[in-house]
Each structure stands twice: as C-alpha cells, then as structure tokens.
Symmetry: C2
C-alpha cells in the first residue's frame, strides 16, 4: 500500500527530528512535532510548555487532582494521572492527524498509535553515543551534566514511557519498517532513503 | 569513508541472503555465504556439510576430542569445543576475505568480526513472522514442525550464538548501520537502498 504517513522515533541527538523535517519538506507534506504539542494543548487546555515537558517523559509524576479542576476537561477527575491523561489526548490527536492526510509525525509514540494503519511507514533513527554527544553540544550548548549523561537520561525517559504505554521495547527493529544510523548514513541521506521508499511504495 | 564491504545479518526467512546476493550482483562484487563455509572447511579440514550445520548454531555441542585427532589442525586438542574451533576459523577467514577487497558477507557474525573496519557497512534484515513463515514454506516446503516453530528455533540459535561469541545482542540496531524490514520495504527494494548507500559513500 502507498505509504503517505511517516512516523519517526529517534534517539536523542541522532538528528531524527531533522530527518523528519527534511522528509516533510521534500514530500511537501505537514510536519508535526511542536505543532502536535500545540494541538494537544489546545484540546486539553494545558499550556504548551507543560505538555512539551511531560509528553515524552516517564509516567508517574502525579499532580494533585485540583490542578485539573480548572481545565474543565471531562475525565481528569476520575483518577487519571497527568501522564495518563496526556497519553489519552496524544492518542486521539495523532489518530486525527493521520486521518487528515499525508504527514510526518516525530515522537510521541506515534508508531504504536498508528501501528494498525497500512499507509504508515515507521522509522527509527539512531546513532552512536559519540556522534550524538557531539551533536547535542553543538546544537544545545554545554550544561552542568555531561553530554553522555544527558543522552542516557533522555533516552531512558523515552524508553520507559514507551514501554509503559505500549508494552513494547523502544528501539527494537520489529516495531519499525526501517532503522537508520545517521552517524554512518548521514542525516540528509537518511531523509533521501525514506523519501525514495515513500515514492516507490504502491 | 567509502563502504566497499557489506555484512548482512538476517532473521531466518526474511530474505536477507537474497538481499545480499542482489547487492553483490548489482555492485559486481563477490558474495560469500556457502563459499565462505567452504573456505572455512578447506582451512579446517572439516567437511563442508559439518561446518554448515554447526557454523551458526548455539555453542555447547561438544564432540569427543578424538574426533579432532584426524583433522591434524593445531589447537583443537587444547580443550577447544567444536563450536569454539569453528568460531576461531570463521574469524580468521572473514578477516582475510575482507582484506581481499570489496564483497558481501552473509551471516557468520561478520558484523562483529569486521566492526573495527571503517569501510564496512552493516545491515540487519528482518520481517514479521507471517511474511517469513509464508516465505519459508514457499522456499523450503512444509515439515513436521510448524513454520513459526522453525523460525523461532533458527532465530534463537543465531541469537544465542551471537550473544555467546560477541557479548552483543543480536538484532539490536546499534550493531548495524541500517535495519530493513523486507516484509514492508521489499527484498529487491532493500537491495537497492543498500546499493545507493554504498554508491553515495565517500
């Protein structure tokens, strides 16, 4: 089946977001990352910043239920944690985005949420630690933590979140249609590979 | 660096061997699979059939040491199991093959053995169970065991062997430069993707 929707899962610092952006640009289709967060926020009444900070982190941070009372969102008073609530509205938003038509969706466990659609191509982008550490320092600057510790922390969070909500192992090839090491293949080249696959699919 | 040597690791039934063969054909370079087994056999004095049966299986099958006495191969009397002996001569053969020049090597843990060469591209080929089960029945016919049981047994052996000799996890993306799901991408298309990567590498 023709693949018109692309999900990108990626290790922190691998350039997966850039790969996704390039694919969307080359194919002339919408790209959802912060835009998606904004849509989630609009639906939930949460501030975009809050969603961005919690959307891909490990679950378990509970926020007192009165925090939800002001949102007016139905269901949040029924014992749902913040993380579970975010997961629910993420699912719904991603399913709706996919229904709207061709697009690229980065992160947010979209590969799992759209696993039953045959028109979706699932990509995992990764790279070795040295490549990623060098890249995050170049892009985001130094911080108190070492780049390697930052990578480990972020990947761990994504992995725990993914496992918790999907029951699957983050980064296991069977969850994806192609996994690309950008440290070896290159970021631009990774995007070209995916665009070729999409264009050749029938 | 220009990638001139390609290693293919693959799930049983995924078509990885065919992908490797197509790549070699398209690039006009040697393809090693049974040929490699034969070379190993020539070096060891083992019968090709024996090597083929044991080369990728899980270690631990011990054969009485007198079985080696007739081979005249140095070292086999020093407590090496058959599997360990096969591993040693596989390493040596694969290192020599890579030194000879551009080629495609399928299986035999070649990705690990050649991990320190920068001119090598490492591929993992996989597919979902249904695609593989259907393919092995078409290619190899029915047998007493169900196709799914045959897949599980063969993959388990490859996985245990790989873990034992490399200390790494078989099929974990970080061991490869690209992982391709032939059930979705297609066998011919997988070969084209790899040929493009090789041709573009500098």
């Amino acid at each position: 089946m023709k693949k018109t929707i692309i999900t990108i899962s990626r290790q922190f610092g691998s350039g997966g977001r850039t790969v996704g952006h390039l694919i969307a640009e080359k194919l002339g289709i919408p790209f959802y990352d912060k835009e998606l967060v904004e849509q989630i926020a609009l639906e939930s009444g949460f501030a975009p910043k809050f969603v961005e900070e919690n959307g891909e982190h490990s679950p378990g941070r509970s926020i007192l239920s009165y925090a939800f009372a002001s949102t007016g969102v139905p269901g949040v008073m029924n014992g749902l944690s913040t993380a579970d609530f975010l997961w629910s509205i993420q699912c719904s938003a991603i399913l709706q985005l996919a229904d709207k038509g061709p697009c690229v969706i980065v992160g947010r466990n979209a590969d799992y949420i759209l696993k039953d659609r045959e028109d979706v191509l699932h990509i995992f982008v990764y790279a070795d630690t040295e490549f990623r550490a060098d890249r995050i320092v170049r892009l985001y600057g130094e911080s108190e933590k070492s780049p390697v510790a930052r990578l480990q922390e972020k990947d761990k969070r994504r992995s725990v979140n993914y496992q918790h909500y999907t029951g699957r192992t983050w980064g296991a090839p069977k969850n994806y249609d192609i996994c690309i090491n950008t440290g070896v293949i290159g970021i631009e080249e990774a995007a070209d590979i995916v665009v070729d696959i999409v264009n050749r699919s029938k």
